[in-house]
Symmetry: C2
Subunit: 297 residues, 2 copies
């Protein structure tokens, strides 16, 4: 999620290439891998949907709830037919891909830029007997290595925030979707109407140039021939999720110290605080959108 390397160094993200490198550096190192794998949610490393009281819910369950929710929303559009072909952009460890394949009998291509994650994704797929239904590819959603009009649906969770050229991402998504195809995505975002300057300290801490918003994504989608079907803003999930990850970090600090550097833990904790504060202040949210490649609703 947050683009900083394990030493907390600032990473420039002024080009597509740089963004790819930043996210790759962030996710593709041993501290990150171990932290996300052991603390965040195992196979799923996106924001969860929590059931209150928060203390009685688990990150892993909440992450799965997100998959179920977004899949349910996507299913209503009718694209999750057996044998349908989907593309997961920023697929991480592949938890969502396996969930979708198991539940709907679809095929998924996973596109992701962190080889450490991709390797684990492929191992899981083999263990689950799903290797013939899921293909894992190294690559960036800035330049999707696929033919035009190839997918019935696109799925992307908390990945687009890393892109400094979000128009390019939407152009690519529209290009590879079949006509009538649907994209379901989630992302941490600015609240609509929040100016970059008012979240500058947060952006600096999380090493991003700027963030998307529902209004921005909707406008980019329109520019690329994608009609907005639905939008969801869940600031409570943003605050819940980062609060929960932070609580886990504190509670299990001795254990986590055995596989993550103190510097990494400290940076992570500060980053989490910024997300929590931004959500509480009404500046940041986390949400999702569904778009269809079509002329009209």
């Amino acid at each position: 999620m947050r683009v900083e390397n394990s030493n907390g160094e600032t990473l420039k993200d002024t080009s597509s290439k740089a963004a790819k490198d930043n996210a790759e550096i962030y996710y593709d190192n041993d501290d990150s891998d171990r932290f996300y794998f052991h603390v965040w949610g195992g196979e799923d490393i996106h924001v969860g949907l929590y059931k209150e009281p928060l203390a009685q819910d688990e990150i892993r369950e909440a992450s799965l709830r997100t998959d179920e929710w977004l899949a349910g929303e996507l299913a209503l559009t009718g694209v999750l037919q057996p044998q349908a072909k989907g593309l997961d952009l920023g697929s991480g460890y592949g938890g969502a891909a396996r969930f979708l394949v198991r539940k709907f009998g679809v095929f998924i291509d996973c596109l992701n830029i962190a080889p450490i994650q991709n390797k684990r994704n492929e191992e899981y797929n083999v263990q689950a007997g799903l290797a013939d239904k899921i293909t894992v590819r190294y690559g960036s959603f800035q330049d999707i290595p696929c033919e035009d009009n190839s997918y019935d649906f696109i799925w992307s969770q908390d990945a687009f925030l890393h892109s400094p050229d979000k128009l390019r991402v939407f152009q690519e998504c529209s290009r590879v979707l079949k006509p009538g195809g649907v994209m379901a995505m989630t992302d941490p975002m600015k609240e609509d109407g929040i100016d970059k300057s008012s979240i500058q300290p947060i952006l600096e801490r999380i090493k991003l140039h700027d963030m998307g918003s529902l209004v921005l994504y909707r406008s980019l989608a329109k520019e690329c021939g994608l009609v907005t079907l639905r939008t969801f803003s869940r600031p409570d999930s943003l605050v819940h999720h980062y609060s929960k990850v932070k609580a886990e970090l504190v509670k299990r600090s001795d254990e986590i110290a055995s596989f993550c550097s103190p510097q990494f833990q400290e940076n992570m904790k500060r980053g989490l605080d910024h997300w929590i504060e931004g959500g509480r202040a009404g500046k940041l949210t986390w949400g999702g959108m569904l778009f269809r490649k079509a002329d009209k609703l």
Copy 2:
């Protein structure tokens, strides 16, 4: 939903009293009752969530899907505990109240201004053996006839649009919610940023002075001490629902003619077209929000 009487006359809605009367006149007459009861969705008369392809889905199933969805969202906040006390504002025939009572073991007070609907609601509750868990009251959400801090949750579907004084509605909701209580609501709305003037023909046809929007409701909520937990905008549901009701009206016109006047049918069809066109043009949407009576997320 639309405030016009069965002869399609324009009804002024410049005061609380007038709004109550308009909605009462609209819903509390035999044509409306028979139309909503036989065509719209039976026990549930709100916008549905459709599974595409639309032709293969039913209004009644889609309406139930809305109840399940909104209840699922509300359940995540932790307020739907057994014995919890809820208030349904604009409760219609009470379909949602019975659903919530059955599924969660809660108690519900239904507040509604159409005696014809209230009578049917009470009959259903007796038939279902739920009369001890659901109380039906005649009244307006502009002046909720309840004590301060009495409810664990408020539920309202597609009702607030009738109010010309939405601040007053939110003040009343905040007043009767217990601290920490949650309100879940849905409503047909303007898209954010859409000016009243650009939907004037629609407003005139549907006999409303103006409409709410996510931005407006969020701001009113804040003014009344309610924190926004989540917002949902589903323009596709708006278009689907009114398209489906219109298709039903056309398909069953002979049957409907036996219990609704031709004038009522004609007005209804024109009203439905305006909703559909407004949704397709990106001017109108239908969506929901969850608020908590609290200081912060």
